[in-house]
Symmetry: C2
Subunit: 330 residues, 2 copies
């Protein structure tokens, strides 16, 4: 059941079949229908591998993310994919689990598939991989790692801005002793959150403390909280690297019968859907993930609205969303 079979059955050449398959206008009506019927009767599915090979061109886009289980990445992927599919692109996904080897493997895979564009929305991106990508010269989008170039666009989040909003908001509520719960690994983007936190705290000469979560997820937040409570620092507010960590924090505080926000305020980062449905609901910094997903597509797909941003850096600012998990200092 290849193009030749169809051609034979329809009594035409393979070129004609190809034209029909690709919706070319220049095929006469009756011919077209003969071909279509043949295709149907033979149950023909064009071989996309052959097509990609012959065409050379790429209706395929790739995206690699750090942790699908984190709604931040998942949402970006979903909105990106939706947009891409809708525009007739295929999309390839790789989840690295924050591991550099998997990142490398994922990117190699995509290059091997000759994707037309590649987004690396990962916290663990390292320079060597970046160079590799630049060398092959396919359009790419990086997340939070710098050096935009010819075909390399960068999306950056303004963590300082976000952190400042959060800290100042808490400060205005009377908080002076705040803790930050971050990632275990010293990954670029997450470190920026942390240092932004520390700087802002210093600027306000408030007292700060940081803990590293052992993992990206509920459990990480929970364990970090235990550590934090053991430390004796006694914060009145806790800022978290992201919302899932914050939900883990809420959980542990509840276990320890510490009331939020009465005794401690908690604030997250990302504004995932769950933030609104946790108990208490979570004050957080919204990151417009859907917009980011769409932007990634526009940056990767040729001739699109985002041309102006291609090869440049796009800065996105988080926005503070106040809910129930924060309140005045006791």
């Amino acid at each position: 059941m290849n193009i030749r079979d169809v051609a034979e059955k329809a009594g035409v050449s393979i070129s004609t079949v190809s034209r029909v398959v690709n919706g070319s206008e220049l095929v006469k009506r009756p011919t077209r229908s003969r071909v279509l019927r043949a295709m149907h009767e033979l149950n023909y599915y064009p071989n996309l591998n052959a097509r990609s090979l012959a065409g050379g061109r790429s209706r395929i886009l790739g995206i690699v993310v750090s942790n699908l289980q984190n709604p931040f990445f998942l949402d970006i992927f979903c909105s990106f994919e939706a947009r891409a599919l809708q525009q007739g692109y295929e999309v390839l996904l790789a989840d690295t689990g924050y591991r550099t080897d998997r990142l490398k493997a994922g990117i190699r895979l995509m290059i091997g598939r000759r994707v037309g564009g590649l987004a690396a929305i990962v916290s663990e991106m390292d320079p060597s991989i970046q160079e590799e990508l630049v060398r092959v010269g396919i359009p790419a989008v990086f997340y939070d790692v710098a050096t935009p170039q010819k075909k390399i666009s960068v999306i950056r989040l303004n963590y300082r801005h976000g952190m400042r909003q959060a800290v100042e908001y808490l400060y205005s509520l009377g908080h002076r002793r705040m803790a930050y719960i971050g990632y275990p690994m010293p990954l670029g983007p997450t470190e920026e959150r942390k240092s932004a936190f520390l700087e802002t705290m210093t600027a306000h000469s408030a007292s700060s403390f940081t803990v590293a979560a052992a993992a990206d997820g509920f459990v990480g937040g929970q364990e970090a909280t235990r550590e934090l409570l053991r430390s004796g620092f006694n914060p009145t507010a806790v800022l978290c690297v992201n919302d899932i960590t914050a939900v883990g924090v809420l959980r542990e505080l509840r276990n320890q019968r510490i009331s939020v926000p009465k005794e401690i305020s908690v604030i997250g980062f990302d504004n995932i859907p769950l933030a609104e449905f946790s108990s208490p609901s979570l004050t957080t910094l919204d990151i417009p993930r859907q917009r980011i997903g769409h932007l990634i597509f526009d940056l990767l797909a040729p001739s699109h609205s985002a041309v102006r941003s291609i090869g440049r850096e796009t800065m996105i600012s988080p926005e503070l969303i106040i809910r129930e998990s924060t309140g005045p200092v006791p």
Copy 2:
């Protein structure tokens, strides 16, 4: 930078390069290193499209799911993918968003890519699509829809068993008026949960009521709860089609100052990670998603542990996990 360039640069034939790339043993040391160096210097990435085409064989597996945002599907995908990658397979993903047209498109895509196996873990599977898949004759795994055949394996969940556990547990706590919150669309698998619920209720001559959520997610559960409360049925317990719906329910009950489990008990389905971290934590029926993900791989990848189950039906039983969201009737 194709295989020919490499061959030329290394002063060998393309066959030799191919051997090196594929790690064949029968290449002499010095030759191999010359080739490797050439590959490196030219920055060579084998064209996977060409490889898939020529090889005909399929180191690609496909999986299509209904809703990635639902951790049930996500977890299955992740464990499936992890296993597959680790075994050197490529995996293709499609998310249908419960839409039949997207399901069809996704499956066509995978067939076009000539995947070696295809898992359709979707609630909206319809017979025509199933037939299509059978016709092309690629190994497949279906979820909750029947007719195992030569190359078609089926994974089924024993909803009746699960529902019975849940209902009887609640009954033993004194509950007699229970409500069920299900999916909006009459999808096979989810209907089974509902009818299992109703039957068990009838068997115990307890009083039941059902509502359909408007969507799969927190909001769906929340809105369904409002509807339920308005109905005047006044249940002492609510069973939900899945955990995310249940979390939406918890939220709305909290909004209405209805205490869980003091006034109403809530029970979910799936046992997603969040179930343990919601407030209150969620009593639910555990579905071993990781096991399912691995099983899917074993069913699809040739010559594997699961051979005995290939082309047959594997029944999996949910197991009741009791947490804080359920308690004795007031």
